[in-house]
């Protein structure tokens, strides 16, 4: 008896849950309303089956539950009933399948006037490429990938010279224009998903799958990776901004092309940088060795691209503006001494020319426990803490350990990495959720064992 | 995956056909009483080992068909560089054919309970099988010397893996072969090895057919 009543309650409860659920499709932002319609049809058909089948079962249990003297009927089969049920089921299935196939027919048929954008995935970042004026993308090859050519562009391909390469996790689309997104992976499988667009597709290395859509609503939407791609899968985020065509065109025109980017590869002048470094040396030390007393980390030995990014962050308020980032807030005004791009490159050139000695060890912790924790860290920061340009992960070996303790705590408590434009910081915040104070000390103590 | 699907379709057709023949369509609740062994739907009259072997051969077929499917899918890709198949493979084919023939002779002799026939058949089958394996090793040597290493091209990798897996199955068969050979030479009576010789001969024919398909596949690409 109880089971029959519970089943009835579950059916009613499920229907109420369905109707009251605060979680349903996000407001759609593309032309794929037909997919939502198909989902609704499927909900209707299956919902009716769910309700009828379960209520009938509950009724049968109540009506035919065991009572004294009651005997079951002997009925091996009922051909007519079974045929009838088969027919009804088939009709229900067709009712769901037909609109589904129609919708899919639209998906495989890309409109001819769709413009092309390439979405590039790698562990655990997004980047993007527009074909430029010629409307065609240049060829690429995973073998060309290097720190100066993260897209793996073929430098000799004339079609690629005017390609617009966007090496950040954010790209833009004009509203109401069909776009064919070519999705390409440099390393493993990823999946390009924007929930509001409804359609998604895997990025497969060695081939270039595609999807198409017409954005129908302006706004900023999250890009998620929905194919397990390694340890920071959940931290692989991007943004797509849908905007009016003229805004889009203005933005696109301001982006450098591949050939322009190649031309402006300024390496920095260490001599000019030495003068600029005078201000820095007060805290970070004349040899960039850092100073715990002034909470200034060691700089030498750190990768130039990392220093550059952090200086940019301080300059643009991405870093050093959070309320609880005490020392970051001290640093932020100091970068005013670096007025422009050239100054930043120069001072970094000088810092990287300084002699690099390992920082002294000041942190105590359980090295064995730290080794286990570091299994997560090593995927980006390297087995020996050497850092990795491709993952934008700074070096940790031989750097100021007390500083890393502070920063790990900052990441965990939102003092760093919480700014919406700090994409690498966001990744760190997603990785350190479980790093308690003790674990922080342990893992930093383990990092101190690197040569 | 077409190859595998065709194989499975045939197999399913066989299963369904057999089930129909086994009168799956009777109305079991309607008939009460003992039904004899010869009644449709009763247990198979084959020995259990024969049924087991048939099922095992279906498993092995599935395994190789999947490899062949993978082979066909992979060779569509542009980096595929066809292998220069060594001529020794023709000789190997002949050797395996002879082994199969002699195994059949041994099996026939076992049915007639001729111990001497079994002995000769088994030994000859064994000798040719070992020659076949030697030929395969030689073929490996030749393509290795051509510079066709395992990792250098998928065509090579498939060559090694397919022939290697086939050879492993032959080695498994040789283990059973060894046991029956020792038995007949130590004077066991024919009926004691009859089943194992008969089943092994089936297994050898199966491996021969498998090799022919594989050889055709290797030659055609």
């Amino acid at each position: 008896m109880a089971i029959a009543i519970v089943i009835i309650l579950l059916v009613i409860g499920s229907v109420i849950f369905h109707l009251m659920s605060p979680w349903y499709f996000t407001e759609i932002a593309s032309n794929w309303g037909i997919i939502d319609d198909t989902v609704s049809i499927t909900f209707w058909v299956t919902g009716i089956v769910f309700i009828i089948a379960n209520l009938f079962m509950a009724y049968a249990i109540i009506k035919y539950r065991h009572r004294k003297g009651h005997k079951a009927k002997y009925e091996p089969e009922n051909k007519k009933l079974e045929t009838w049920l088969t027919v009804v089921t088939t009709i229900g299935v067709v009712a769901m399948l037909a609109p589904g196939l129609l919708a899919w027919g639209k998906f495989v048929d890309v409109p001819e006037d769709a413009h092309i954008v390439e979405v590039v995935g790698q562990q655990w970042q997004w980047s993007f490429r527009y074909p430029g004026e010629d409307g065609q993308l240049g060829t690429v090859d995973a073998r060309n990938i290097s720190i100066d050519n993260p897209f793996g562009m073929n430098p000799d391909d004339p079609l690629g010279q005017d390609d617009i390469v966007i090496d950040t996790n954010e790209f833009r689309l004009p509203i109401d224009q069909p776009v064919k997104l070519l999705v390409r992976s440099k390393d493993v499988l990823h999946n390009f998903t924007v929930p509001q667009f409804r359609v998604k597709m895997d990025l497969v290395p060695g081939m270039v799958p595609y999807l198409w859509l017409t954005p129908t609503r302006t706004g900023t939407f999250d890009i998620l990776c929905e194919e397990l791609c390694g340890i920071a899968h959940h931290a692989m985020r991007g943004k797509v901004i849908v905007e009016e065509e003229k805004d889009f065109n203005a933005w696109l025109a301001a982006q450098p092309t591949y050939s322009q980017l190649r031309a402006q590869n300024y390496k920095g002048d260490a001599v000019a940088g030495q003068a600029l470094y005078q201000t820095c040396s007060a805290c970070h030390g004349v040899n960039g060795e850092g100073n715990q007393a002034t909470n200034s980390p060691k700089l030498t030995g750190q990768e130039d691209w990392y220093l550059k990014r952090q200086l940019h962050y301080f300059k643009t308020g991405v870093r050093g503006t959070a309320e609880n980032d005490v020392f970051g807030k001290q640093m932020a005004p100091m970068v005013a001494v670096l007025p422009n791009e050239k100054a930043i490159s120069d001072v970094i050139a000088y810092i990287t020319s300084l002699p690099d000695n390992p920082a002294p060890h000041t942190v105590d912790g359980d090295i064995d426990s730290g080794e286990g924790i570091y299994l997560t860290c090593e995927k980006c920061h390297g087995k020996n803490g050497e850092g990795n340009w491709s993952l934008r992960a700074p070096r940790v070996a031989g750097m100021s350990d007390w500083y890393m303790v502070t920063q790990l705590k900052n990441f965990r408590h939102g003092a760093r990495g919480a700014h919406p434009d700090d994409s690498t910081g966001y990744q760190m915040t997603s990785m350190v959720l479980s790093l308690t104070e003790k674990k922080v000390n342990d893992v930093v103590a383990y990092m101190n064992t690197f040569e | 995956m077409e190859i595998t699907l065709i194989f499975l379709a045939l197999l399913m057709a066989f299963v369904v056909g057999w089930l129909i023949k086994q009168s799956i369509n009777t109305r079991p609740w309607a008939e009460e009483g003992v039904i004899g062994y010869d009644h449709a739907g009763g247990p198979l009259s084959w020995p259990a080992k024969k049924v087991g072997l048939a099922a095992f051969l279906a498993v092995v077929t599935s395994l190789f068909m999947l490899f062949f499917s993978a082979y066909n899918l992979r060779r569509e890709y542009p980096d595929w560089a066809a292998l220069n198949d060594p001529d020794i493979l023709w000789l190997s084919t002949l050797l395996l054919l002879l082994a199969s023939v002699f195994y059949q002779k041994a099996s026939n002799a076992a049915k007639r309970s001729e111990e001497s026939g079994i002995r000769v058949g088994l030994v000859m089958a064994g000798v040719f099988t070992f020659c076949f394996l030697a030929g395969q090793v030689w073929a490996w040597q030749i393509i290795h010397e051509q510079g066709a290493f395992l990792a250098s091209n998928p065509a090579n990798a498939f060559f090694y893996i397919l022939t290697g897996l086939h050879a492993l199955h032959i080695l498994g068969g040789l283990w059973v072969w060894g046991r029956s050979t020792i038995k007949v030479w130590s004077g066991e009576e024919a009926y004691k090895v009859r089943l194992s010789v008969e089943l092994c001969s089936v297994y050898w024919h199966f491996l021969l057919v498998l090799w022919l398909i594989m050889f055709y596949l290797l030659l055609s690409t």
């Binding site: 089948a53 899919w104 959940h234 | 609740w29 739907g41 999947l66």
Partner: protein
Amino acid sequence: MAHVALADKGQELSHPHSWITQYVWSQDHKVIGIQYMVVATLVGLLALVMSGMMRLQLGFPGTFTLIEPNEYYQFVTMHGMIMVVFMLTAFFLGGFGNILIPLMCGARDMVFPYMNMLSFWVYLLSVIILVASLFVPGGATGAGWTLYPPQAITPGTPGADWGILLMLISLAVFIVAFTMGGLNYLTTALQARTRGMTLMRLPLSVWGIVMATILGLLAFPALFVAAIMMTLDNVLGTSFFMPAVNILGEQLEHDGGSPILFQHLFWFFGHPEVYIVALPMFGIASDLISTHARKNIFGYRMMVWAIVAIGGLSFVVWAHHMYVSGMNPYFGFLFATTTLIIAVPTALKVYNWVLTLWEGDIHLNVPMLFAIGFIFTFIHGGITGLFLGNVAVDVPLSDTYFVIGHFHMVMGVSPFLVVFGGLYHWYPKLTGRMMNVTLGKIHFWLTFLGTYAIYLPMHYIGILGVPRRYYANGVTDFMPESVATINSSITIAALIVGGAQFIFIYNLIASLFKEKDAGGNPWNATTLEWQTPDTPPKHGNWDDELPVVYRWAYAYSVPGADKDFIPQNEPPSDKTGKE
């Protein structure tokens, strides 16, 4: 005739004398079945604990600081692989298959008892290798149970050094074990049925298990092939699945391989694998429902044909797991159609279960509660499958929590309810004792309601777009605060359900000592396993004579009979049977 000797091989059985040969190196199919069940349960508990750790992370991120992303992805992988392969497949086929096939067919044992014993020990070896992978440098693989390359064998994934290799080896060893066992189950059911046991007189449990065995024998080779090729890619640098890739800034040597090829092979195994679990579940559920409703299973012939049809169709639907994998999108039309066709025989099975209850005499015993719970969860899991099978509907839902909710309902909760129901049902036969009813009911209600509280909301956060396999959801523009709240409540439900399983384990052990004698046939069932001369059945199952079968397996409430069941081996009263 040869088969008579084989079916009736009483004299060939080596009767064990010492404890070791009786319980450890046993060739008795019942002992082997129990060994399978014990190992599968232990490894299943490990996977359960892992899911608890994952739920604590997801429900309370940053509060329970138990696991790092590294462990999270390892647990995701191990939980999935263990539950699907090492727990459910092993439990249904190695456990129930071993115990039920010979008993229900009226045989003395499996036809190849020695190979049967080997099958268990090789299975144990595969489990040991799998568990060992947790302790090697770098730990177990975190590639997800689908093990997709390039990710599975490249260093951005946990356990890319040793974990993945051990996983592949463990799977290969498992497949060997399964093949040895599977050949036995199939041959026994074909060949060692007792006199009068025609195919159409077999209980549906045997049909389900045997069809699942056939699927396993034909589908596991696909996993085997994929495992071999991936091992070679990993260890020897071939390029079956590996294209030219730049991993973590470094160019690898591979070139030209196809990751999609692996997915085809994997799902060619992976989809039939769903039915390897589902068909025994269907069969056992049918028998539980029929026995406890005291009514013949409705539409027996249709049920048999549905099992065969589902088994056959399960080989032509695999690419519905790959709608957004980048394969040729035109395949979507084909596979959506085949997938929705398979819904028809599956739906018919559900109707027939419900119609078996109709006009029955329903005894709500503990096994029956589980069977009814199963019908409910299976309906739920089945209809959500219609969403995911239909290509256009699948696109927004794939790789979200909708998928997690769906397959846990259909392949997690449903088979487990049947496993539990089956254990409450057959425990008296295997031990001679009943199981405690009160504990059984507590176990049922906590499990049944608890799992629904876990998985129903998951479908909805999936529709919202919450992705699966995420260590943390992080900050997004589309997830409201309430997602975190429901995640916490899901975790609490999961912990309750997890805890309830320990009640069950306690019941299993305590009932051995505390409960009353069951007698030979406590449920008044018709099938042969309840008619053995001894309870628990001795090695060899039957006395000198094998039982003779006179009727089908569902002679419940036959009009005119004095009892409401007639055992399959009870001679007809009117002597109409022809000798």
